[in-house]
């Protein structure tokens, strides 16, 4: 793979996406306001849960805010990259425009996963980081290199898991043609990621760890922040993320053999 070429193409993707989005100024403004209101609403909701009881699943409100911060960052990434690109896969397949992607001398997964960027999602990422820094202060977390490395690794793994899950579901469009609902269900499951895994019953915890690994996406990185996570959990998250990435890649290549293109 020619890395220089891919970087050059990605630079162009950023340029064309920003230029396209900036054509509609009002839309960007509305998206930015929505991002701020959504974060305020989520924190308000979380504070209601903690109003009568100081602890939920062994987590204090200040600690649960870390999960909210990580969720906001992931949601920002979802809105910046996953949503504009991965929902387009369904459209590409339904309308047959995937033909143009497949005939370009560039990796098709790279092209359809990163072609578009929604700049308003950046604000959510920034807000998420602000919330995390605020949590680091109120929870008196000691910042050091080991902590930062582990945090970065676990958050990166969360992004990989989330991307792979979404990409996997979108790929099934090659057979089922229409899978909007499945990706919507995935998004709604993600909302669950705003709460500590321990706040759910045992059976739900198993479900959200094994079948839809929401636990890996927000809870483990949050535990790392609080110094509560055991190393085996971090290793497990790295393994799960790698497996998910490899599987989604192999599944895409396999699915392309069944692509029949839309009729003209």
């Amino acid at each position: 793979m020619n890395l220089r070429k891919y970087l050059k193409v990605y630079k162009k993707f950023i340029h064309t996406s920003l230029a396209s989005e900036l054509e509609y100024k009002t839309n960007i403004l509305i998206d930015l306001i929505t991002a701020i209101l959504s974060l305020i609403g989520s924190i308000f909701l979380l504070s209601i849960f903690f109003q009568n009881n100081g602890y939920i699943g062994g987590w204090k409100f200040e600690q649960a805010l870390i999960i909210q911060g990580i969720y906001t960052i992931l949601n920002g990434i979802t809105n910046t990259w996953f949503n504009p690109n991965l929902t387009e896969i369904v459209k590409h397949i339904r309308e047959g425009t995937l033909d143009f992607v497949l005939l370009k001398p560039i990796d098709s997964q790279f092209f359809i996963s990163l072609k578009k960027i929604n700049p308003s999602g950046f604000l959510e990422i920034i807000l998420g980081f602000f919330l995390l820094f605020f949590c680091i202060r109120i929870n008196q977390i000691n910042l050091n290199l080991g902590f930062l490395t582990l945090s970065l690794i676990t958050i990166s793994c969360s992004i990989c898991i989330l991307y792979s899950l979404w990409f996997f579901i979108s790929t099934t469009t090659i057979w089922f043609v229409k899978t909007w609902n499945a990706t919507e269900v995935l998004r709604s499951f993600l909302y669950i990621g705003r709460f500590p895994l321990n706040s759910f019953s045992f059976s739900l915890r198993i479900f959200f760890s094994v079948f839809i690994p929401i636990a890996f996406i927000t809870t483990i990185p949050s535990e790392v922040f609080l110094g509560l996570s055991q190393f085996w959990k971090i290793y497990l998250e790295v393994i799960v993320a790698t497996l998910f990435l490899i599987t989604s890649r192999k599944f895409w290549l396999f699915a392309l053999k069944f692509y029949s293109s839309a009729s003209s």
């Binding site: 425009t97 033909d99 005939l103």
Partner: protein, 331 residues
């Protein structure tokens, strides 16, 4: 000797197609127990195309033309048989192969809708690893050939269909491919835009010796660009050869309207042994076989007092229409 750039042998393609009965009952049945059947859309076809050739694929809707093009450019895996395009197996979609081909579809677009076409051109240039200066040179050259200039800087959504199609062509040709697959490129264009596009393709072929495979329902596209046609009927090839031979075979006679100076001359001509279609006063229409046109006209002009005469070619759409519904044409 010119080499084959496309080699297809015993190619077949089957699709699983779902069928549904009409009405609510049919819909519910279709939802719970989907009936699918395997449909062979391409049936054991073989052909070769030489470098620099322009070949037209003719066929009715659903005959399999687009499926053939998509297999040739590597989008669809064949079920049986083999395809070699430019020495490669297309469905492997290797980088060098993809840099050598392009697909243009009249009804689908790759340009970024909200941005001027120039942005899509530079994006494509980076994908094909063409540096900025070279890309600029190619855009200039192709835009001159396509006669587009200011349109390059206007958002795609504001362009007319004709301007958009020209921009699509430029985007698809920026990497200077040797093989062009065109699926109904003039669809929906007005007469002038169609003519300009044909002129461009002709010029591109002359300048670069690129091979062009074209499908179109506009006969003018086929007659002005393609010397050779491949007729596809229900997934099989019903004719593969020169277009003029096919036309001669299908339309062996011409109708000639002769205006005589007097009605007596018309009567004399009517009784002189020619096949007469009709006669109205001093105007008479006769049918003459293509091979005898010159000699027959010489005889008529020498022996009768003729005021005027018109040779009527049967409309080409009508002739080709006959090919599309028939299974075999042996020349």
């Amino acid at each position: 000797m010119v080499q084959n750039i496309i080699d297809v042998s015993n190619l077949s393609k089957s699709f699983d197609i779902a069928s549904k009965e009409p009405g609510l009952k049919g819909t519910i049945k279709h939802f719970f127990r989907r009936q699918t059947k395997s449909l062979k859309v391409i049936k054991d076809i073989s052909f070769e195309i030489k470098e620099g050739e322009i070949v037209g694929f003719l066929g009715a809707n659903g005959a399999g033309k687009t499926t053939i093009l998509k297999m040739l450019c590597g989008l669809i895996y064949p079920s049986e048989g083999s395809i070699m395009v430019s020495g490669d197996l297309p469905f492997r979609r290797k980088e060098n192969f993809l840099k050598n081909i392009t697909l243009i579809m009249g009804q689908k677009q790759q340009l970024i809708w909200d941005l001027p076409p120039i942005e899509s051109f530079y994006l494509n240039a980076s994908i094909y690893d063409i540096d900025k200066f070279e890309a600029k040179r190619r855009i200039k050259k192709l835009s001159e050939m396509l006669e587009i200039d200011e349109e390059l800087f206007i958002p795609v959504r504001k362009l007319s269909l004709g301007q958009r199609m020209k921009s699509e062509l430029l985007a698809a040709l920026i990497h200077e491919p040797n093989i062009l697959f065109l699926d109904e490129p003039t669809l929906g264009l007005d007469i002038n835009a169609q003519r300009n596009l044909r002129k461009f393709l002709q010029k591109y072929n002359e300048n670069t010796n690129a091979t062009i495979c074209l499908t179109s329902h506009y006969m003018k596209d086929i007659t002005s660009l393609c010397k050779r046609v491949i007729c596809v009927h229900e997934g099989s090839i019903s004719y593969d050869g020169k277009l003029d031979l096919l036309l001669k075979k299908l339309s062996p006679v011409k109708e000639i309207l002769i205006v005589c100076r007097s009605e007596e001359d018309a009567i004399k001509l009517e009784n002189s042994g020619f096949t007469v279609k009709n006669k109205i006063k001093n105007e008479i229409t006769i049918k003459i076989e293509n091979n005898f046109i010159t000699s027959s006209l010489k005889t008529i002009l020498n022996n009768f007092d003729i005021e005027d005469l018109f040779i009527n070619e049967p409309p080409i759409d009508e002739i080709i229409g006959r090919v599309l519904i028939k299974k075999d044409y042996e020349i």
